[in-house]
């Protein structure tokens, strides 16, 4: 019996010591979705975009991949997984933990979308399982970012605003890289704010009245991707 205890103790020690050895600090990256200064609420709240068009959101999902944090000495820290699916409706998905060193973080970079190398080799699991509803079956590829919403300005059936943005083929590439520098080096939590106003209006002016639906790769998807890349900023407030 004594041996059994010793055995268990050894396991416990092994597991805990392994953790202690790596001198890392865990940082939380939180995604926060807003329209201007207003916090996004699905279903219940009506907002106005930059074209004064009313809009109520029902779904917001997007992929963040290849997230890299850079500390004050230029050392890079990566997330455990390569790809994360952020879903407004799933609060755990909006919080990503990253192991970093003891130095504060000055820069973050990530891609919005999925590398083409994941899109030509068959089916993936986890965040990339087609069950997550972010996969085009008729034209193989992932949807990188998606909103389902409604607006009186939309002439689509049920006044839908439905943007599914993706594309990896040449001249359809909707993968966008974002790089943000922190004004003050960050030691604790990183808050990544996405302002959905910019989804419709930043690099390109894409009013709902003209562009209620985007369901395939192509020019509109790439323009929306340009806009989406402009949504993000780092906030110091939790």
């Amino acid at each position: 019996m004594k041996y059994l205890y010793a055995w268990l103790l050894a396991i416990v020690l092994f597991v805990t010591s392994n953790r202690a050895v790596a001198q890392t600090n865990t940082l939380l990256l939180r995604c926060k979705h807003q329209l201007g200064d207003a916090i996004l609420q699905l279903h219940t709240q009506q907002y106005r975009n930059g074209f004064d068009e009313p809009i109520t959101f029902h779904m917001l999902k997007y992929y963040l991949s290849n997230i890299v944090l850079t500390d004050t000495q230029g050392k890079e820290w990566k997330t455990k997984n390569f790809i994360y699916l952020i879903d407004e409706n799933d609060s755990t998905s909006k919080c990503i933990s990253i192991n970093v060193g003891n130095l504060p973080i000055v820069m973050i970079s990530f891609n919005i979308g999925v590398d083409s190398s994941y899109q030509t080799v068959g089916l993936q699991t986890g965040a990339l399982d087609p069950l997550k509803g972010m996969f085009w079956s008729w034209n193989t590829g992932y949807v990188y970012a998606k909103i389902e919403a409604q607006s009186a300005a939309s002439k689509a059936p049920t006044h839908a605003v439905s943007h599914h943005i993706g594309g990896y083929l040449q001249q359809q590439n909707a993968l966008r890289k974002v790089q943000l520098t922190a004004q003050i080096p960050i030691r604790e939590n990183l808050v990544l704010v996405a302002d959905l106003q910019k989804w419709f209006n930043s690099v390109h002016a894409l009013p709902i009245a003209q562009y209620p639906v985007c369901h395939s790769p192509g020019t509109l998807a790439m323009q929306l991707a340009d806009n989406i890349a402009q949504m993000f900023s780092l906030s110091k407030l939790p």
Binding site: G122, Q124, P130
Partner: protein, 352 residues
């Protein structure tokens, strides 16, 4: 003594535990052979080793109408073995709620050599292909989540998944791999043509004359031994004003690809009527008529066909004789593919 016993017990339990995992999961690998003289397949078998259990699971899925939204349509309803896995005598096929597909169902054969799927090449891997018909509202109209739930609740599938993959976990990836395993076994290489090439048979005169014409006028696109070069081409078929199908351009969004469709294999072509991407040609004769008299020379029409393909009535007769040598009755009746038993034909059920 008690201590030694304790250690021994722990060791034995660990060994047994590991052993048990290995003992219960021993799928039988299938040797997948490339027919002599054929190119290397494009499918990456190393990532999805064919096993008897995997193929059995794929076959069960292929014949299961419960996967569809209303439990009426299986893959096998549109892909019938005796018609080389096309829909027999249908230009377009029926999906759930009697909706029609937008295209003529293609033959399912020699898929391991194809680098893309569907006649516009929109699908880039065999493992993901099933998602399109499964979820399309005019085909099986299913919700992927519900399909996974149905499979999870079904004890027969639990056993099949466990036998194929080692445990009962059901993921989209596993479903896709199982479909592929079954589909990859559908290799047609035993037609008279193949036997002639292997020196096991001889063409009769009209077949030989037809083969000579074929090599001159058709083989640049319908390349041997697969009878397709896998490229996308416009053979000068007019745009159907009800279907508005622009083919490859739908995927590449490039105007230069307008009205281009993948060159279809002509293996088993005698049993796959009607023909053309929308099934507008009812017989081989209609296809020949097209090539010699109806080619429309648009901006993307293939340069080989700009002025049509001159074919005399004699040549048409000889070409027809040759095309019939591509019928592989071993393939069409192979009981291992599962589509030959009476129950699965469901002729009585079929609306037309």
């Amino acid at each position: 003594m008690k201590q030694t016993f304790c250690i021994l017990l722990m060791v034995i339990m660990t060994v047994l535990g590991i052993g048990w995992i290995n003992i219960t999961y021993k799928p039988k690998l299938i040797a997948w052979i490339v027919p002599k003289g054929w190119p290397k397949p494009t499918y990456r078998f190393a990532q999805n080793r064919l096993t008897e259990e995997g193929v059995a699971l794929g076959k069960t899925l292929f014949f299961d109408p419960q996967l569809s939204a209303d439990g009426t349509i299986a893959c096998a309803d549109c892909h019938q073995q005796f018609a080389a896995f096309t829909t027999y005598e249908h230009s377009l096929s029926h999906g759930v709620g009697n909706h029609l597909t937008n295209r003529n169902a293609t033959a399912l054969q020699n898929l391991a050599w194809q680098s893309n799927f569907m006649q516009d090449g929109g699908i880039n891997h065999l493992d993901v292909q099933f998602l399109a018909p499964l979820t399309a509202p005019n085909e099986m109209g299913a919700d992927l989540e519900k399909v996974v739930q149905y499979l999870q609740k079904n004890s027969r599938y639990s056993l099949l998944f466990k036998a194929a993959f080692g445990d009962t976990t059901i993921t989209t990836q596993r479903i896709g791999k199982a479909f592929s395993q079954y589909l990859l076994t559908l290799v047609s290489y035993n037609s008279k043509y193949d036997k002639v090439m292997r020196g096991e048979a001889q063409f009769i005169l009209p077949e030989q004359l037809g083969y000579d014409i074929f090599k001159k006028k058709c083989a640049s696109c319908h390349r041997e031994p697969l009878f397709t070069d896998g490229s996308f081409r416009n053979i000068g078929m007019t745009l159907d004003s009800t279907l508005h199908d622009v083919g490859r351009m739908h995927i590449t969004l490039n105007a230069a690809d307008s009205l281009k469709f993948r060159v279809p294999s002509l293996r088993n072509v005698a049993v796959t009527a009607p023909y053309g991407h929308d099934g507008r040609f009812y017989s081989l004769y209609n296809v020949f008529e097209h090539y010699r008299n109806q080619v429309v020379g648009g901006p993307t029409t293939d340069s080989l066909l700009r002025r049509g393909l001159p074919l005399s009535n004699y040549e048409i007769g000889q070409l027809t004789a040759f095309l019939h040598t591509l019928t592989d009755s071993v393939f069409l009746t192979n009981p291992q593919f599962g589509g030959t038993s009476f129950g699965t034909l469901k002729m009585g059920n079929h609306p037309h």
